[in-house]
């Protein structure tokens, strides 16, 4: 089974082209970092991948399911962490998770044991009864990551999940998701504009002005220079 495939995807906001014939593959079980400056088209790509809106041109395949032809089968295979927080702050961590589980058709004991496992995995088990409002930013993000694992997805989509977090929380969350990909065979697409979240062994996609500039192994693409310098050099040019 494949991981994530994007073919000739284009999208415009009126006259402005946000994505221009973007194509890439993330093989099953790989961690792919989608690196791009602000306004590169990352969030547009995520909205298309999660079918919040659809594009006329191009195609998306998630774990072997065509998103346009079989949207429900494809959506059932993805776990998403949006850039904007989506927790209900008035509810407890556990209630937030059981709400999400139910949206995926899980209830009762099965949902309970999956929620326990997901919270345990992200080190959030003791905080299950706390209100989301009382958690710090890092723990809220961990809750969202735990939540997106409940329905055992094959592909994780994370849109700049470390925005607004301190350095320690950022590192903890980046490491966690790298581990998830390594240990559980999950395909991950991690959008970021921060080069220090990317490991040399990650599959790297550099997006700039809606175009995919480079695709390959991060360590190979950067060569002998640091990834930050490589990225700045790649994205320095005009659109």
């Amino acid at each position: 089974m494949t991981g994530l495939t994007v073919r000739d995807l284009s999208y415009s906001y009126g006259p402005r082209r946000a994505l221009d014939e973007v194509s890439f593959d993330v093989p099953k079980g790989r961690f792919a970092a989608l690196l791009g400056p602000n306004g590169a088209g990352k969030s547009t790509l995520f909205s298309l991948l999660t079918r919040l809106f659809t594009a006329r041109d191009g195609g998306i395949e998630i774990a072997g399911h065509d998103l346009a032809r079989a949207p429900r089968a494809a959506l059932a295979r993805i776990g998403v962490v949006f850039q904007q927080p989506t927790l209900d702050l008035d509810l407890t961590v556990r209630r937030n998770l059981s709400y999400f589980a139910a949206l995926h058709g899980l209830s009762g004991r099965e949902a309970g044991s999956r929620i326990d496992a997901a919270l345990e995995r992200l080190g959030m088990a003791e905080r299950a009864q706390e209100r989301a409002r009382d958690l710090n930013g890092g723990h809220r993000r961990r809750t969202e990551i735990a939540r997106c694992l409940i329905h055992a997805p094959s592909v994780l989509l994370l849109d700049e999940p470390t925005v607004g977090l301190d350095a320690a929380s950022r590192k903890a969350i980046t490491d966690h998701v790298h581990d998830l990909s390594r240990d559980s065979g999950l395909t991950v697409l991690w959008a970021t504009h921060l080069t220090d979240e990317i490991e040399d062994s990650d599959h790297l996609l550099i997006l700039h002005h809606g175009r995919l500039l480079q695709e390959g192994l991060a360590g190979e693409l950067r060569g002998s220079q640091g990834l930050r310098d490589h990225f700045l050099k790649q994205t320095a040019g005009p659109p």
Binding site: S47, Q84, T86, D90, F100, A102
Partner: protein
């Protein structure tokens, strides 16, 4: 099928849990119709003479006349507020979560309508209880018979809010909706005065009131509160609700890119 109902249950439960935690919202929603009932209606009592028309079988006071209209008002305000907050407010995130669930989009929107209507119904019953405490009572059967009427009317008004939120870009805040939707809908209806009273001042106004779906929702509630069934009012309310819902589903079609514009 099971999946769809598990989701419906969870969406309603979530709304109920949020409602319990937001008591301020509950009190605010109750104060508005109570002011109308206890202040406005008392003032107008002397000015307005109402003759007997179905479902009433005897002379009634003005407070009794506007009670169903105020039930409708709660549904109208809540329906609009909850649908619009979905798009404009902090609820944007939860909307994203909802719409990426692997269920048909129309079903997810319908679940959201059922959830907000359930909360509105709780508020209407609280309002009816307070009104009863002030001596404005309905026949006992009416309190039971009004439940399905409130559900149908609530879903119709919520669907209108949902359709507006998806179709009209200019309605960027609740004040705009108040001026251009809620107030005209409420005042140009039978909530405050009967149709024949409206006809005395202007036939055009009377005709506008007669086609206003809110009029039919209020009349359906009014008859139900006396244990009576008003078929045409139900028909118009369901028809309007179906049209608004189809518009909302069309508005939220991913190919139209609503969330692109709003979010």
């Amino acid at each position: 099928m099971r999946h769809a109902f598990v989701a419906l249950n969870a969406i309603v439960l979530r709304e109920a849990q949020r409602f319990v935690r937001q008591r301020g919202r509950f009190v605010a929603a109750l104060v508005r119709p109570l002011i109308w009932l206890l202040v406005f209606a008392a003032g107008f009592r002397a000015a307005l003479g109402l003759s007997i028309a179905p479902p009433y079988q005897t002379y009634i006071t003005y407070e009794v006349y506007i009670l169903p209209g105020l039930c409708g008002m709660i549904l109208l305000f809540n329906g609009m507020q909850s649908s619009l907050s979905l798009v404009y407010d902090r609820e944007m995130g939860s909307m994203r979560l909802l719409l990426t669930a692997p269920l048909p989009r129309w079903w997810l929107l319908f679940c959201r309508l059922v959830a907000s209507t359930a909360i509105s119904i709780l508020q209407v019953y609280t309002f009816l209880a307070v009104a009863a405490a002030f001596g404005i009572r309905m026949p006992l059967i009416g309190y039971l018979a009004v439940l399905p009427a409130l559900a149908v009317a609530g879903i119709m008004l919520g669907a209108l809010g949902l359709a507006l939120s998806s179709l009209i870009k200019q309605l960027e805040n609740f004040a705009g909706v108040m001026n251009f939707v809620i107030f005209p809908m409420f005042f140009l209806s039978t909530a405050l005065y009967p149709l024949w009273k409206m006809a005395e001042s202007s036939m055009v106004l009377r005709d506008i009131c007669a086609v206003n779906p809110f009029t039919h929702a209020v009349e359906f509630i009014r008859f139900a509160l006396y244990g009576q069934f008003n078929g045409p009012a139900l028909g118009w309310t369901v028809l309007a609700g179906a049209i608004f819902f189809v518009l909302a589903v069309w508005g939220y079609d991913p190919a139209r890119g609503l969330l692109r514009r709003k979010g």
